[in-house]
Subunit: 338 residues, 2 copies
Amino acid sequence: MYVNQQIILDNRPTGEASLSNFKFIETKTPELQDGHVLVQHHFLSLDPYMRGRMNDSKSYTQPQALGQVMIGGTVGEVVESKHPNFTIGDKVVGMGGWQLYNVFDANIVGALQKVDTTHIEISHFLGAVGMPGVTAWYGLVKIIQAKAGQTVTVSAASGAVGSAFGALAKARGLRVVGFAGGKDKCDYVVKELGFDACIDYKEHEDYVSLSKAIQEVCPNGIDGHFENVGGMVLDAVMLRTNAFARFAVCGMIAGYNGNPIPMKNPALILMNRMMVEGFIVSEHLDIWPEALQELGALVASKKLNPRQTIAHGLEQAPEAFLGLLKGKNFGKQLVKLI
Amino acid sequence: MYVNQQIILDNRPTGEASLSNFKFIETKTPELQDGHVLVQHHFLSLDPYMRGRMNDSKSYTQPQALGQVMIGGTVGEVVESKHPNFTIGDKVVGMGGWQLYNVFDANIVGALQKVDTTHIEISHFLGAVGMPGVTAWYGLVKIIQAKAGQTVTVSAASGAVGSAFGALAKARGLRVVGFAGGKDKCDYVVKELGFDACIDYKEHEDYVSLSKAIQEVCPNGIDGHFENVGGMVLDAVMLRTNAFARFAVCGMIAGYNGNPIPMKNPALILMNRMMVEGFIVSEHLDIWPEALQELGALVASKKLNPRQTIAHGLEQAPEAFLGLLKGKNFGKQLVKLI
C-alpha cells in the first residue's frame, strides 16, 4: 500500500479553464485484485484534448467525470503485480491519469503496454514513441500518402505531433514545411527538427498574407497537409495546394466564444480535387505496432530528438496544463512525478 | 458541304452573363481531311460549367476562347466520314459545341464515341447515360461507397446528376434523400425519381433550420453526401453526418460577387471523422465503361427516366443557358437542333 496523490476534476470551467477547476487529494492505493497491476508513474502527459473532456458536451469522446481523477497518459514502472504478464520493474505505458500510482486491469487488452527503455528515454513513450508520434504517422502514411520529392506542411510544427511528422516526412524524402508561433519555435523547427522551412504565422495578419509567405517556401505548391489547429493556417494552405492534395485533419480550434471558425474557401476542395479527412488515432489501433517501430528507431538513432517541457511534481500539473492551452510549452508537455 | 450555324463567345461577362455575350453566325462545313468525321448534331447539352469557362480566370480548366464556338457536349449522327471506324448514320457523342455540325478528328482517343440508341433515346447520352450520370456514379460508387441500408443525400436532386444519383443509390439498397428548390421539384424527386424524401431548401432561412428538417427524414443520420452546390445545404448536412461519413464534392457555388462561400463548421470534419473529396469526372476515364453500362441499363429499363427541359433551335441556346444558371430548367437542359 502506497500513499497516492491525485488531481480530480472538481468543477467544470465556464469559459477558460482555471486552477480552481482542479482539486489535489491524497488517498491510499488499494489491495490488488487478481489480474491487476499497480504502476508507479514516472511521467504524466498533458495534452490539449483534456480541455475538451472538461466540458459536459457531447463530442466524439465522453466527458471527464466530476470528482474523478483527471484522465491522462502515463509511463511508469510496475511495483506490484497480480497478472502473469507483468513483473515488478517492468516499464509500462497506459492511461494512468493525474496521479502518482494507478491500478490497471491488465486483462483489458491494450490497457497497459510494456515498453523497452534500453535505447529510448521512458518519457518519449508519451510523445514521439507514443500517441502523438503515431498520430503523425497515421496522418502522413495512411492519409496524405505523399511521394518522395513532394511537399507537405504541418501546423503546430514544434509540438509533439508536428516534430514527429517532420522526421517521418524527411525519412520519406519529402520537402516538409512547418507553421509555428514565434521566431524561437520556428528556429527550433528548422535547426533542430530538420524541417526545410518554418513560417511564423504570428507575423501575418490574414490568410492571404500567410499564403504569400507559403508560396515563397513551397515554390512547387503543397501536396499534403497535416492540420493540428485549423483557422488561418488551413485557409492559407488551401490556397497553395496542388491538384489531388491530401489533408489529414487532427485538430481544429474553435473561436474564443466556442463558435466554429469557418473554412474560408471550401470551393478549393473541388477546384484542386482535394481529399480532406479527419481522424482520431485511437480508432486505428491496427497500425500502432508498425508506427511505433519506425518512431522508436527514429528516436533511438537521434534522428528525432523532440524537445520536452517538463513540470516537476503532480501539484504543478494544473498550472502546466493551463500554460499548454496558451501555447507556453515548447515541445511535448510532461509532468515528472518521481 | 453544309451550311453551319454557330454560336460564338463574343465578349466575356462582367458579373452576370447576358445574351449580348454571344453571337450567332453562319459558316460552311469544311472539306474533310483524312481521319476526320462530320457530325450533324441532334442535341446540345447546356451545363453550369460553361459559365465558368466564359470567364478569363485560371481554374482547373482553360477559359473558352473569344470568337470561338462555345464548347458543349453534343449527340448526333455521322453525315460524312474519312475514318474507317465511323460510317454515315452512326450515332455519336462528343464535345461538338454550340453549332449544327462539327468536324471531329476521330484519331484523338475519346473525341467521338459511338452510342447504341436501340433501347435508349439519343438525348439521354448527354444526361443519365453521359457525363452527368457518370459523375453521379463516380461520386456514389468510388467516393461515398455507402453500404446497403445506409443513408445518402444529394443536393440539386432534380437535376441530371441528382436524378442519376438517386437511381444508383436505390439500386444499391440505400436510403436516399434529396434537396431541391420548390415544391414541384421536390414532388418530382420523390414521386417520379423514387427518392425516399426530398427537402425544399427554399423553405429554410438558415442551415440550422434546414438541419432540423434533415433530422426528420434522416433519423439514422447521414453516411454519405453528394454535393452539387455548396453553401447552406452542405453546412446543414454536415451537422447530421454520422461518424466516418464520406462526401463527394462535384459543385460549389460562389457568392453573388464571386467571393467564396465559407464552410461554417469545418471542425465537424474532425469530430465526425469525415472524408471530403472533390473530383472532376473527366479525370477518371477508366470508370466510364462500367458506369455507362449500369446507367444505360437503368434508363433502358425505365428505372431511371429523367426529365429533360428542351429548347428548340440553336438560336434559343443562349436564353436557355441563362435560364439554366437561374435554375429555370427542370431536369437536364438540352437544345434540340434537328
